[in-house]
């Protein structure tokens, strides 16, 4: 944001802005609750005051977040109606929209407009009530009593009530019907109190319960489905044209050709949606996607991240808006700790002890030699944020801005070269050629990684691009030297550190030979404990401390070479009005969108 934006505000708007900023920062830094009460942190959603206070406490609040015209998108001005055609990038077909079977972000970006959950995240990744009007949490955080919204109907006219929540829960718990049953493993039971109230009983407190388990898009396990529609349509058809309570209903879905959604007239919020119709076309290749946008065939690009090389082209087009925010994810270069020349068999030592081991010296040398700024400039065309841990800036409150300076992975070529020499490989001499595994679409940027390491350390790295199914199999079995991979859709710290950084994390070498490899790519007891603790910590301030401590350990001990946090870039025609409330990183919510 520049001063020009401030100059455009009226005197009254500037005064209001300054007042809100002042109030947000008006708290005692020693107060662990930052002047907020427990009720202010409970549902149905957090007040604007509470959100701004937490952001101020986390050091992420600026006037940018509060301006009505911040980020280049403004309040809804245009009239309702119209048809929006979207291109879904990097995908050939939307194979399913059944939340029980969804396994890709491109799918739940669509279902977020069609199906509802008890909760939905806002642009600050904080949970707000969706079908839940309010909720109460018991003293130890193991029981949640939800009061459901009244007068909600499904697209087929059925009334929504507590029975639908129970049905969805039972379906999702059944591993033969849902691939997300694991998400509910902490839920012991769910009880119908009355038609509009349900009680969840958890085995142990779960900090991410509202934003992860119950979230309507990425949550999936508790995305509410219509039991009547499922029974009538069968699961195959339901997966193509699911029936929910969302602002849009699906009227047509041809695999490979696209999805057509129409406005649901009886949505619980009568002011939404604004559009009459939305058409979503999957377009796998970047050039046709760009041409479709430039020709006006599509007016908005969603789906997988847009090819970085197209961004400048779109930016130069006066008819298009390129809206960039930090994406909810991280990308890394993973190092196999069981490789003979990079071997680390026990991470449970202080860094100072690990530094005496040749394998760790090599590991740290690689991390320190990684020029992230250069990588971003060449591989990502300048888009993205350098990463030093799994916790991404979009998480706001939990993100540690200072880690860039305090991490052992901070870029330092001379130190990296010294470490390699001390490990016995001065200038990379005598170090074997490593294979860097990636997918065919990742070949170009993996080559940039290889080139940077070759230039800074003299090590030879050969890029091996293999299809996704082969790539995944080799990663799970730990049959690789280095690997380029990461995570997206990380809205809560659990998505990052639980899923990736624990010894028992689901991606951590689950198919390895355990007799030869006691752990996969990383294991640290202290990190495991901290991550378990933060997972059950309801107090956000305490949780933040635990998250950041665990994140620091994984960074300092080089769990991986953290590379960057991808940018979340939305491109749309200037006729499309996308209000701030709709700009949720990783999602494409269209219920407030209008066309000029």
């Amino acid at each position: 944001m520049t001063n020009k934006t401030l100059d455009e505000l009226s005197l009254a708007q500037r005064a209001e802005l300054e007042k809100e900023l002042g109030e947000a920062y008006d708290f005692d830094p020693k107060d662990p609750m930052f002047g907020l009460s427990k009720d202010e942190l409970s549902g149905p959603d957090m007040s604007r005051r509470a959100v701004l206070r937490l952001m101020a406490a986390g050091g992420t609040l600026t006037a940018m977040n509060m301006l009505p015209l911040a980020g280049g998108f403004g309040d809804v001005q245009a009239a309702s109606g119209g048809v929006l055609t979207c291109g879904w990038s990097g995908v050939g077909q939307i194979v399913t929209l059944d939340p029980a079977k969804i396994d890709q972000v491109v799918q739940f970006q669509i279902t977020s407009n069609v199906l509802s959950g008890l909760m939905h995240i806002n642009p600050d990744l904080i949970g707000e009530g969706d079908l839940a009007e309010s909720w109460q949490v018991n003293g130890d955080g193991t029981e949640y009593l939800f009061t459901l919204r009244k007068g909600v109907t499904f697209h087929n006219g059925d009334k929504f009530d507590a029975d639908d929540v129970l049905f969805t829960y039972n379906r999702s718990k059944d591993s033969s019907k849902s691939i997300h049953s694991r998400v509910l493993k902490n839920v012991n039971s769910i009880e119908k109190v009355n038609d509009l109230q349900v009680r969840f009983k958890l085995a142990k407190p779960q900090a991410s319960f509202l934003t992860k388990t119950l979230e309507r898009s990425s949550g999936r396990a508790m995305t509410i489905v219509s039991r009547n529609a499922l029974q009538k349509m069968g699961t195959a058809q339901f997966g193509l044209t699911p029936v929910g309570t969302g602002p849009f209903k699906i009227v047509e879905h041809q695999l490979g050709q696209g999805v057509v959604m129409e406005k649901f007239e009886n949505y619980y919020d009568p002011s939404r949606p604004k559009l009459d119709k939305v058409i979503i076309k999957p377009i796998s290749d970047p050039e046709p996607l760009a041409a479709a946008m430039e020709s006006g065939d599509i007016q908005l690009i969603g789906g997988n991240p847009i090819a970085a090389e197209l961004i400048d082209r779109f930016t130069a087009n006066a008819d298009l808006v390129v809206n960039e925010v930090t994406g909810p994810g991280f990308q890394s270069v993973w190092i196999n700790p069981w490789h003979e020349h990079m071997k680390v068999t026990d991470f449970n030592k202080p860094v100072s002890e690990l530094m005496k081991e040749k394998g760790f010296m090599v590991r740290l040398a690689f991390a320190k030699a990684m020029d992230r700024e250069r990588y971003l400039k060449i591989a990502q065309f300048g888009h993205g944020t350098p990463a030093f841990g799994t916790i991404n800036p979009a998480m706001g409150f939990y993100y540690d801005k200072g880690l860039e300076k305090t991490s052992t992975q901070t870029f330092d070529v001379k130190e990296a070269q010294r470490l390699m020499a001390e490990a016995g490989y001065p200038g990379g001499k005598g170090f074997p050629t490593l294979r860097l595994a990636t997918t065919p679409s990742g070949r170009r940027e993996a080559t940039v990684v290889a080139d940077i390491l070759r230039k800074n350390l003299g090590v030879k790295i050969q890029v091996e691009a293999k299809e996704w199914s082969v790539n995944v199999e080799e990663f799970d079995s730990m049959r690789w030297d280095l690997r380029r991979a990461g995570s997206g859709g990380d809205f809560d710290p659990d998505d990052a550190i639980v899923d990736w950084m624990q010894t028992e994390s689901k991606f951590n070498g689950r198919k390895r030979d355990k007799s030869k490899m006691p752990f996969g790519y990383f294991s640290d007891r202290e990190a495991d404990d901290l991550i378990n603790q933060q997972s059950t910590q309801a107090d956000p301030v305490k949780r933040k401390a635990l998250v950041q401590k665990a994140n620091k350990i994984t960074s300092d001990k080089v769990a991986s070479i953290f590379l960057f946090h991808p940018a979340d870039i939305l491109v749309y025609h200037k006729r499309v009005n996308l209000p701030k409330q709709s700009r949720i990183p990783g999602l494409v919510d269209l219920d407030r969108v209008t066309m000029s």
């Binding site: 591993s175 691939i179 041809q254 490979g256 290749d285 041409a291 020709s295 199999e473």
Partner: protein, 316 residues
């Protein structure tokens, strides 16, 4: 003739069976676990095993083959292993009209260009017209169809806004919406096709034009048009029809790259995505259809020979 047709049909079925069996085995030998890849993000080994079991993928390969073959003989190609597990037959029925649309219009484009071009080049051999046709044919053959496709999109869609850039509209929604979406893909595919056919027509016509009977016909005073169109061209058609038959079969099996560029989910794209995803039932079903297209196209070409050249008869 009927006996010939029956024999050839039987042979075609044997070929299809052999191709399907080979593909079945090869798919399962190729590295990569489709279920693990599909559920990678979920990371639940129990869910992975449950799905593998429900799809019968935990069975020995010969059991899987037996089940698949038995169902295929009854017209049931199974369900896609991905997402909503849509029936393969449904996917094929949705993809075929799109591929047929592109193939048909590409075919018409190619023939409309190739026949006059080939005839002109042959009848005006070693003149400027011949060289021009030859040069254009070489350019058409050398240009990758995906490159031409992107160029057409940039010019006619992105810049001139004359035609849509991507997508497919069924004929049921109107002739012009359907046709306008097919012009650019058909041009991209048909250009190389027309170059091949034009060259073949030229070469075949040159051979026929030099035959004795043509000299006799010319000496009888027949017009050039009658000579070329009535006497030379039909006899030059045999090798041309062979090439057209093979090329059409290739078109029908899906111009994969062009389908990808224009985001049209035809047979080729269905097949390629199936292979990349290791979606076994989809690949097996699509391969059966593709092999059927090839063998029956060849059969049709052979039958056409007997109409083009009365000397060719298929007896017992």
């Amino acid at each position: 003739m009927y006996q010939y047709l029956i024999r050839r049909t039987f042979g075609a079925l044997v070929v299809m069976f052999a191709v399907a069996t080979l593909v079945f085995i090869m798919l399962r030998l190729v590295p990569g676990d489709p279920i693990a890849a599909m559920l990678y993000d979920v990371g639940d080994p129990a869910a992975i095993e449950e799905i593998r079991r429900s799809l019968g993928l935990d069975q020995p390969i010969y059991v899987q083959y037996g089940i698949w073959l038995g169902n295929a003989l009854q017209g049931d190609f199974g369900n896609s292993i991905y997402g909503s597990r849509v029936e393969v037959s449904r996917l094929l029925l949705e993809a075929l009209p799109r591929t047929l649309s592109i193939a048909s219009i590409s075919f018409v484009v190619a023939i409309v260009i190739a026949i006059p071009a080939g005839l002109i080049a042959a009848t005006r051999r070693n003149t400027g017209a011949d060289y021009a046709v030859t040069l254009v044919a070489f350019i058409g053959l050398s240009m990758p169809d995906f490159w031409l496709a992107i160029l057409l999109i940039i010019v006619f869609a992105a810049n001139l806004h004359w035609l849509p850039a991507i997508g497919y509209v069924p004929l049921s929604e109107g002739f012009w919406p359907w046709f306008s979406h097919l012009i650019l893909p058909s041009l991209a595919v048909g250009t190389a096709f027309s170059a091949i056919v034009a060259r073949m027509i030229r070469s075949s016509m040159l051979e026929v034009l030099n035959m004795d009977y043509m000299r006799v016909a010319r000496s009888k005073g027949l017009s050039e048009l009658t000579l070329v169109w009535t006497h030379a061209f039909p006899n030059a058609l045999i090798p041309v029809v062979t090439v057209i038959g093979i090329a059409f079969a290739l078109l029908m099996s899906g111009a994969v790259v062009v389908e990808n560029v224009f985001a049209i989910k035809g047979l080729g794209r269905l097949l390629i995505q199936g292979i990349l995803n290791r979606d076994y039932p989809v690949v097996q079903g699509a391969i059966l259809v593709v092999s059927a297209i090839f063998v029956f196209s060849n059969l049709l070409v052979d039958v056409l020979y007997s109409f083009i050249d009365p000397r060719i008869r298929y007896g017992s």
